[in-house]
């Protein structure tokens, strides 16, 4: 008996206390070679895997060249649960940084310099946001949670001073990216909750009346929506993942009609100085693997260029491109690599010639980048 109790005691003794919580991954990386311009730096939002509550925010300071991870949790260590689950979009307006956290049903509004929370805006299932004339516009998959007869999404208007949601307008089902242009908001409807009944339109909202005034027929299951300098929308259609392939459409906002379409799949794109930088990753039933392509499109001539923005030898660095941005001043291309989605990703910076300039390790699923102007 005694022996047993002794054994038991030893067993406990060994493990009687838990170790302290480990320090978060807050090591600073400095890849070097930064040239600060009027752009002081950029924020990168890591989505984190669903249900893991692992969204995180990184910041690159061009001045010092320091790349800091988990800046949200360092600036706000006492906020319950941290940044949250699935960081879906990010944007800076004025002196405020807006972080859309899809799985946590909120938008975090932070001080752009300190990263400290100013306010949390609660909204169910938020997706993307844009800004226009002192207001933020946010798409959300569902207008009302818990009503079986309300499958439509909304666009919510956020007053950037009071940080309250001031107006809401119903759009199509599961709206995704949106832009505001010429007193109108254009939002891509996906309908992703009801396959195969996808949506196929871009909703047009009149900013002043805040009502939906048109739906432009484009293609099924729309996702990305960017605008060029001429007021043309570049809208991606994801197809149905089976028979209907993905496509890229160009919509003229003046006539509100599709003026051109390309039979290419585009996973993500960004438009910079009349060039759309695009990439596509698509499963191939021939190779049984993902085929990844990097494309450039001239938005003036609306033709695909036969050049690319990543040199051949560096293409293999990227396992799964997931986010893209171009530095407005230096023309450097930033591409994030989500790798296998369950390990920390990478961020690569390419010179305008397509040569790898530097890379850093990010959080899980690095995805969304926004530049911070001085």
């Amino acid at each position: 008996m005694k022996k047993i109790s002794a054994l038991v005691l030893i067993f406990f003794g060994l493990y009687a206390c838990q170790s302290d919580d480990p320090i978060p991954d807050d090591d600073v990386q400095n890849p070097g070679g930064q040239n600060p311009t009027s752009v002081a730096g950029f924020y990168l939002l890591n989505e984190g895997n669903m249900s893991m509550n692992k969204a995180s925010l990184d910041y690159m300071d061009y001045e010092t060249g320091d790349y800091k991870r988990t800046v949200f949790s360092q600036a706000n260590p006492d906020l319950v649960g941290g940044l949250g689950d699935i960081g879906n979009a990010i944007g800076i307006y004025g002196s405020k940084l807006y972080v859309v956290v899809n799985g946590s049903n909120k938008v975090e509004v932070l001080d752009v310099n300190s990263g400290k929370r100013i306010k949390q805006i609660d909204i169910d299932n938020p997706r993307y946001l844009t800004f226009y004339n002192g207001k933020g516009y946010l798409s959300s998959y569902l207008g009302t949670i818990g009503d079986p007869n309300a499958p439509n999404g909304i666009v919510a208007e956020i007053d950037t001073t009071s940080l309250n949601i001031t107006r809401r307008v119903e759009v199509g089902r599961q709206p995704e990216e949106l832009v505001a242009y010429n007193d109108k908001i254009y939002v891509a409807n996906s309908g992703g909750y009801s396959p195969p009944e996808y949506e196929s339109t871009v909703s047009v909202i009149d900013v002043n009346a805040f009502t939906e005034i048109n739906r432009i027929e484009v293609g099924i299951n729309l996702h990305r929506l960017k605008i060029d300098d001429e007021g043309d929308l570049y809208v991606t259609s994801r197809g149905d993942y089976y028979e209907i392939p993905s496509k890229l459409f160009v919509v003229d906002t003046h006539t509100e009609t599709v003026k051109k379409s390309f039979d290419i799949g585009v996973s993500n794109l960004t438009i910079h100085k009349d060039i759309a930088y695009m990439y596509n990753s698509e499963f191939s039933f021939i190779t049984g693997d993902y085929e990844i392509s990097y494309l450039m499109l001239d938005t003036k001539t609306e033709t695909i260029l036969d050049q690319t923005y990543i040199s051949e030898k560096d293409k293999n660095l990227i396992e799964m491109p997931y986010g893209i941005a171009v530095n407005p001043e230096t023309d450097e291309v930033l591409i994030t690599d989500a790798k296998d989605y369950v390990t920390p990703g990478n961020l690569y910076c390419f010179t305008p010639d397509g040569a790898l300039k530097w890379s850093v390790q990010t959080g899980d699923i690095p995805a969304h980048i926004t530049f911070n102007y001085e």
Partner: protein, 727 residues
């Protein structure tokens, strides 16, 4: 002191008259082979003859003579225990000697594959509600517990993944072609006689081909009726209540139809709101919240008929029904502590087995099953054009098995088993393939059983034939899987035995892996496992104490591991054969039991598991890192004490640090956790013949806040009270 000599040749002869003695003063000699497997000599005047042919052979080989030795498996434990107590208290003149034999201990000592069991009284005393709770006490097991009464609980044995573990219910597999996992939280311990875990495979020759077709197996043996000579029925009622708003009444009825046929009905209801407080903290913020939408309402009915015709024809028929509605509380993430998702389950199966012995050498065993599983998932957070997202999944299983065993020589048995299984699945999902799968399994097994050496070899052939109503079916498949197991007594003493096995096996991609809309990939290959295990068992009878030490060391390779990789966005995961995992592990357990005085018994058990499970995916991002949710160190300690009519149980479970995702980095780090549970059982003398059994459990005594799965917090301290009475 009386010495009973058991040497000599013959078989079963006469009674032996021994002067008045008490149990523990008898010493045995001449049965070294059983050393450590005999609990006590039980002295009584009348007990039923119950010896299976297998045991008879063992006995004959170990030269028993001159006295009648009755071997009891666990089936008779309760009877035996009561007999024992009476006789030790009052030495009486005896007419017969009964040797009580602990079948579990004997098996774990001589089995070629490592086996761990919990049964009868032990199961009752452990702080356990479901089979999953009981499995926590085994070494080498990681229980994936999402928390709370209704939370899903699956097991991961030796880091191989849940789909590699076959779960058998009364000898027939509980399948789940949809996801290959059995939620062990659904199986109540109320009707369970024994729960066992076999690494590799069980070495029973009358088992079905399916029993060879998993990398490791869990056997659930339900209770069967046992009557005293004049009894025709037994009725037992019980009720459990406690934390989480638990109300859990149960009723068990045994009925003797005639000498050969008996029936049993077991039924229970579980109702709980499931709410509990949990702590949510990162070391700086610290908040307490309530787990919501964790309620469960479930109903179980099991009805069985059992026949035994002169030990030549044995048969069992069982109907099982389970019905539940539960909330799915979901992950706790920032700003979102409540979710509305619901799940309804309905499981029905009818299974039967029949065994016939032709003379001494040839026997057949037939098994069959029909099962229907239905589940309905409701997600009010997703609104489609037709309302809330609702998914229904329906599966059917048809199963037939025939096993022939032939004893070529007294030491050599051959077994040929053929199983046919047909699985179908329907769902209301978009683009659902309506898959059908027919599996044909044939196994030839050979068992050499000498006094000091057991060798078992088996060769399994698996044919899988897939078809779908819509879209593409996966390719058909033919696989051959060998295994070799041994157990040897290297020294003269039977106290020490060595064991080992090699086994190559695979698990099929599940219907979800292959056909789930947007996710499934019909190009998938099976996921292969290869295991090498070497271990020993040492048992020492120190008079009033019995000591047992076992240890196994193993190496396991998983190749072509089926993993989900998201595609171009988070809603588009796809399954791939992408992983490789190598596990090196050690499992050790020390068990001791004995008597401190005539009415003070104890048993204690310590287990420790070391596992290094490394991601060996070539070119992968986490090469050489420990795979998620596998702790390097884990263990348990249990202590059970009986004093007169009071039983006290204490248990401690420890799980070391782990990572919640593939990368072994700080943000994926999960704290070690450990829980202390205690229970007291008291038998209160009551009106009538039987005592009123009263039990109190305190789980997580020190109120530790922890999570087994990240963002799925577990309950703190909780209580359970139970009352049982047998009429």
């Amino acid at each position: 002191m009386v010495t009973v000599c058991l040497d000599g040749k013959a078989g079963w002869i006469k009674q032996v008259r021994i002067p008045a003695i008490s149990c523990n003063s008898i010493r045995l000699s001449g049965i070294e082979a059983w050393n450590g497997c005999i609990d006590a000599l039980v002295l009584s005047k009348r007990l039923t003859f119950l010896v299976s042919p297998r045991w008879r052979n063992v006995i004959m080989r170990t030269y028993l003579n001159r006295i009648i030795i009755f071997i009891f498996g666990l089936l008779l434990c309760p009877t035996v225990l009561s007999a024992q107590t009476q006789d030790t208290l009052t030495p009486v003149a005896l007419q017969e000697i009964f040797l009580r034999h602990d079948r579990n201990r004997f098996e774990s000592h001589t089995s070629p594959a490592s086996v761990q069991s919990l049964s009868g009284e032990q199961l009752k005393k452990l702080n356990s509600l479901s089979v999953a709770d009981a499995l926590r006490y085994f070494s080498g097991i990681q229980l994936k517990d999402y928390g709370g009464i209704g939370g899903i609980k699956t097991v991961n044995v030796r880091s191989m993944g849940s789909q590699h573990t076959g779960v058998f219910f009364d000898g027939i597999q509980l399948g789940n072609a949809q996801n290959g996992q059995v939620d062990l939280g659904k199986f109540s311990l109320d009707n369970m006689q024994q729960v066992s875990l076999y690494q590799g495979q069980r070495s029973e020759m009358q088992q079905s081909a399916k029993a060879y077709a998993s990398s490791n197996t869990i056997y659930l043996q339900t209770k069967t009726p046992k009557f005293k000579p004049d009894e025709t029925y037994q009725l037992a009622v019980g009720v459990r209540s406690g934390s989480f708003g638990l109300f859990n009444p149960s009723l068990n009825l045994n009925y003797k139809i005639n000498d050969a046929i008996s029936a049993r009905l077991s039924t229970e209801l579980v109702n709980a709101h499931g709410r509990y407080k949990f702590q949510y903290s990162n070391g700086i913020y610290d908040t307490t919240a309530v787990r919501n939408n964790a309620d469960i309402k479930s109903y179980r009915v099991e009805a069985s008929v059992h026949g035994n015709h002169k030990n030549k024809d044995l048969w069992n028929v069982k109907y099982y029904h389970y019905n539940s509605e539960r909330g799915l509380p979901g992950a706790i993430v920032a700003n979102r502590f409540a979710r509305p998702q619901r799940l309804w389950d309905r499981n029905n199966f009818l299974q039967a087995d029949y065994k016939h012995q032709f003379g001494e050498t040839y026997a057949i065993k037939v098994r069959g099953k029909y099962g229907d599983d239905y589940s309905w998932y409701l997600d009010p957070e997703i609104v489609t054009t037709t309302g809330f997202l609702e998914n229904t999944y329906n599966q059917q299983e048809y199963y037939l098995s025939l096993v022939n065993t032939y004893k070529v020589k007294p030491y050599w048995t051959l077994s040929l088993a053929t199983d046919v299984q047909h699985n179908t699945m329907q769902s209301n999902m978009y683009r659902f393939a309506y898959p059908k799968r027919t599996t044909l399994l044939n196994v030839l097994a050979s068992d050499f059983n000498f006094k000091r050496l057991t060798i078992q070899a088996s060769f399994l052939s698996t044919g899988v034939y897939e078809s779908v109503k819509y879209y593409e079916a996966a390719d058909d498949l033919q696989e051959f899987s060998p295994s070799l197991l041994f157990n040897v007594q290297p020294f003269k003493s039977a106290d020490f035995r060595l064991r080992g096995f090699y086994k190559k096996m695979f698990r099929m991609p599940t219907f979800n892996d292959l056909y789930y809309t947007f996710v499934g990939n019909t190009f998938l290959d099976p996921e292969y496992s290869e295991q090498i295990n070497l271990g020993f068992s040492w048992q020492k009878d120190l008079g009033s104490t019995l000591l047992n030490v076992t240890s196994d060391i193993y190496n396991i390779w998983i190749t072509d591991k089926i993993v989900a990789i998201p595609g171009t966005n988070l809603f588009r995961w796809t399954m791939y054969n992408l992983g490789e995992v190598e596990t090196k592990g050690i499992e050790t357990s020390v068990t001791t039991s004995g008597k401190i005085s005539a009415d003070f018994n104890y048993s204690a058990r310590l287990t420790y598991t070391f596992q290094e499970s490394l991601d060996k995916t070539s070119g992968g991002n986490s090469f050489g890192q420990q795979i998620p949710y596998v702790p390097k160190h884990s263990g348990s300690a249990t202590l059970m004490m009986d004093y007169k009519n009071i039983a006290l149980n204490y248990s401690f479970i420890y799980t070391g640090e782990r990572y919640s995702q593939k990368a072994n980095i700080a943000s994926n780090y999960l704290q070690p956790w450990y829980t202390h549970d205690i229970s007291v059982n008291y038998e209160l003398p009551f009106f009538g013949e039987n005592p009123l059994k009263f039990g109190l459990e305190v789980n997580n005594l020190f109120d530790q806040h922890y999570a087994v799965i990240k963002n799925f917090p577990m309950p703190g301290r909780s209580f359970r009270l139970n009352l049982n009475y047998q009429f």
